[in-house]
C-alpha cells in the first residue's frame, strides 16, 4: 500500500522540482537555440532566459512567476494507493504555501481566489490505469500566457492535411510573441473536440526530440518545426530564427465526417516533472537527470 502522506510528499517534491528546474531536454534545446541565433535582440532574449534558468536553480526559486494551474497526469499500476486524489489536492495546497507558488486558481466568473490553487475540479487529475507495478505522477505547471493561445478547429474532411497545416500556421502567427516563444507546439489531430484538445496537451509531455511512432506523423512534426521557424517571429516575438523548440503531435481516430485539430502552445518555460513511486517506497524522478531518490 502506498500511503496518502507519502503520495502527498512526492507531489510537493514534484511541484518544487518542476517550478524551479526545467527538464534536461528543454534546457538543451534552449542552449542550442542561443547558439543558433545571430542577431542581437534574439540572442539577448535567449541569454536572459539561460541566465534566469541558472539563477532559479542556484537560488531554488520558481523560474517563472506564473507557476500555472495544475493538471496532473496519473498512471496507476497494479498497486494499492491510499487517498490518491486527496493527496494530490493537499499536496498542491501545501506546495503553494511552502515553495511558494503564486495562487492562480480562481472561480471563472466571480474570480474569487481561495489562495491555495485548489478549487472546484482544480487541480485537474487524469488517471490512466496501466499494468506495471508502480504509480506514476506527472505535474505540468503551465502559465496562462501560453495556455491562452490554445486553439481548436473542427475542420471537415475536405480540408484535409493542407487544412490542418494552415490552421496550425495561422495559430502560430496569431500568437506571435505572446506565448513566450521559443516554445513547444502540442498538437492533437482527430478524436472529438475534447479528445483533440486533451491530446494536444498530452503531446507536450513527450520530451523534445522524441518523435511520434507513426512515421507519417513524425514527418509532419519535423516539417512543421522547420517551416514554422522560417516565419521569423523569434524569441519573445522580437524576430529571429527560433520560434519553436519542437512540434509534438498526437493522433486519434475520428468520425468519418470530422477532422478536429487542437493546438496547445507551451512557453519556453516548459515545466514538467514525473515521478514513479514503487510499493517498496522507492521514488524515481524520471523527467530530470540524476533523479533517483530513496525512501521518503
Amino acid at each position: 500500500m502506498i500511503g496518502k502522506s507519502f503520495v502527498k510528499s512526492v507531489v510537493k517534491d514534484l511541484l518544487k522540482l518542476a517550478s524551479i528546474e526545467l527538464p534536461s531536454d528543454v534546457k538543451e534545446a534552449l542552449r542550442a537555440a542561443y547558439e543558433r541565433e545571430v542577431e542581437v535582440l534574439p540572442k539577448m532574449q535567449l541569454k536572459a532566459i539561460l541566465d534566469n534558468i541558472e539563477l532559479a536553480e542556484k537560488t531554488g526559486t520558481p523560474l517563472c512567476q506564473d507557476t500555472g494551474v495544475h493538471v496532473v497526469y496519473v498512471k496507476l499500476g497494479c498497486v494499492e494507493v491510499e487517498g490518491l486524489e486527496d493527496a494530490i489536492r493537499e499536496g498542491v495546497a501545501e506546495a503553494t504555501a511552502s515553495i511558494p507558488l503564486r495562487p492562480n486558481a480562481v472561480h471563472p466568473l466571480t474570480r474569487k481566489n481561495p489562495g491555495t490553487n485548489v478549487g472546484l475540479k482544480m487541480p485537474y487529475i487524469y488517471i490512466e490505469k496501466i499494468k506495471d507495478s508502480f504509480l506514476e505522477i506527472t505535474v505540468m505547471p503551465k502559465g496562462a500566457g501560453s495556455e491562452n493561445m490554445s486553439a481548436l478547429a473542427m475542420l471537415t474532411p475536405a480540408a484535409g492535411l493542407k487544412g490542418v497545416k494552415e490552421f496550425i500556421l495561422q495559430t502560430v502567427i496569431k500568437a506571435g510573441g505572446q506565448p513566450c516563444p521559443p516554445g513547444i507546439l502540442g498538437v492533437g489531430i482527430g478524436g472529438t473536440a475534447d479528445v483533440a484538445m486533451k491530446l494536444a496537451k498530452e503531446a507536450l509531455l513527450r520530451p523534445l526530440g522524441s518523435r511520434n511512432p507513426d512515421p507519417e506523423v513524425a514527418k509532419l512534426e519535423e516539417e512543421l518545426l522547420e517551416s514554422l521557424n522560417g516565419l521569423g517571429i523569434g524569441p519573445m516575438g522580437l524576430g529571429g530564427k527560433t520560434t519553436l523548440l519542437g512540434v509534438n503531435i498526437e493522433v486519434a481516430y475520428t468520425h468519418t465526417a470530422s477532422l478536429p485539430v487542437a493546438v496547445n502552445y507551451q512557453c519556453w518555460a516548459a515545466r514538467r516533472a514525473t515521478a514513479r513511486i514503487y510499493p517498496d517506497g522507492r521514488v524515481e524522478f524520471t523527467s530530470h537527470k540524476g533523479g533517483e531518490k530513496g525512501v521518503g
Binding site: 535582440l41 523560474l63 517563472c64 506564473d66 489562495g115 510573441g177 521569423g232 512557453c267
Partner: protein, 199 residues
C-alpha cells in the same frame, strides 16, 4: 541601437528620445499593474473616487509577482512580465488619465496603444517573458502596496528597482513598433513557409 540607464519617474522629453531597439536599464520606482488594477483604477476614476497612487510620469509593470512575507515586510521571489495584450483595451485611457510614461511587459501591444504612446509621449518596454528570477534580482525592495484586496497577482506593488533590465524599447513615442516590424517580416516570409508546407 543605444543603451540608456534611466531613473523613474520618466519625463516626457526623455521618453520621446527613445527609439525602438534601444536597450534600457531602469532604476527607481515601478508599479505593477495588470488586468484588475487597470479595471479598478479606471472604475474609481469614473466614479469620481480619488486614486492616490503617484502615477504621474510613472513606469508601470505588467506583472503579477510571487511575494513572501519576511521580517514584517514583503520579499519578491519571482516577478517576470505578463502578456501585455490583455491590457490593450484599457491602456490608452490609463496612459492618458494617469500620466504614465512607461509600460513594461511582454509580447507587445495594439496599434491604439501605440497611438496613445505617441500622443502622450510614453514608451513600451519589452522584458524577457518568464525571466522572473532575473527580474526579482533587480528588485531591491517592496515599498508598498495598493489594492491589496485584489490578491497577490493583481494588486499594485510599489517596487524599488536598480538597473532593471535589459529592457528593449518595443514601441516608441514616434509611432514605431518592433512588433509591427516583425509582423511585416512574418508576412514577407509567409509565401516561403507555405511553399515548404506544400499549402
Amino acid at each position: 541601437m543605444a543603451e540608456y540607464r534611466l531613473t523613474t519617474p520618466l519625463e516626457e522629453k526623455t521618453a520621446r528620445e527613445l527609439t525602438v531597439g534601444d536597450v534600457v536599464y531602469l532604476s527607481g520606482i515601478i508599479y505593477t499593474a495588470r488586468d484588475e488594477a487597470h479595471i479598478h483604477i479606471l472604475e474609481d476614476l469614473r466614479k469620481g473616487r480619488e486614486v492616490n497612487i503617484p502615477l504621474k510620469g510613472a513606469v508601470i509593470y505588467h506583472c503579477g509577482p510571487i511575494l513572501k512575507r519576511e521580517d514584517g515586510g514583503w520579499k519578491v521571489i519571482a516577478a517576470g512580465p505578463t502578456t501585455s495584450s490583455r491590457m490593450n483595451p484599457l491602456e490608452p485611457e490609463f496612459i492618458e488619465k494617469m500620466g504614465i510614461k512607461g509600460v513594461i511587459g511582454k509580447g507587445g501591444m495594439s496599434k491604439q496603444v501605440g497611438e496613445a504612446l505617441a500622443k502622450h509621449g510614453a514608451v513600451y518596454f519589452s522584458f524577457t517573458g518568464g525571466a522572473a528570477v532575473l527580474a526579482a534580482n533587480r528588485i531591491k525592495a517592496v515599498k508598498g502596496v495598493y489594492y491589496e484586496e485584489l490578491g497577490m497577482a493583481e494588486a499594485v506593488w510599489v517596487l524599488e528597482v536598480k538597473e532593471f533590465g535589459p529592457l528593449i524599447v518595443g514601441m516608441d513615442a514616434k509611432g514605431n513598433s518592433l512588433y509591427e516590424k516583425v509582423e511585416l517580416e512574418v508576412g514577407r516570409n509567409l509565401a516561403k513557409v507555405r511553399h515548404m508546407l506544400g499549402i
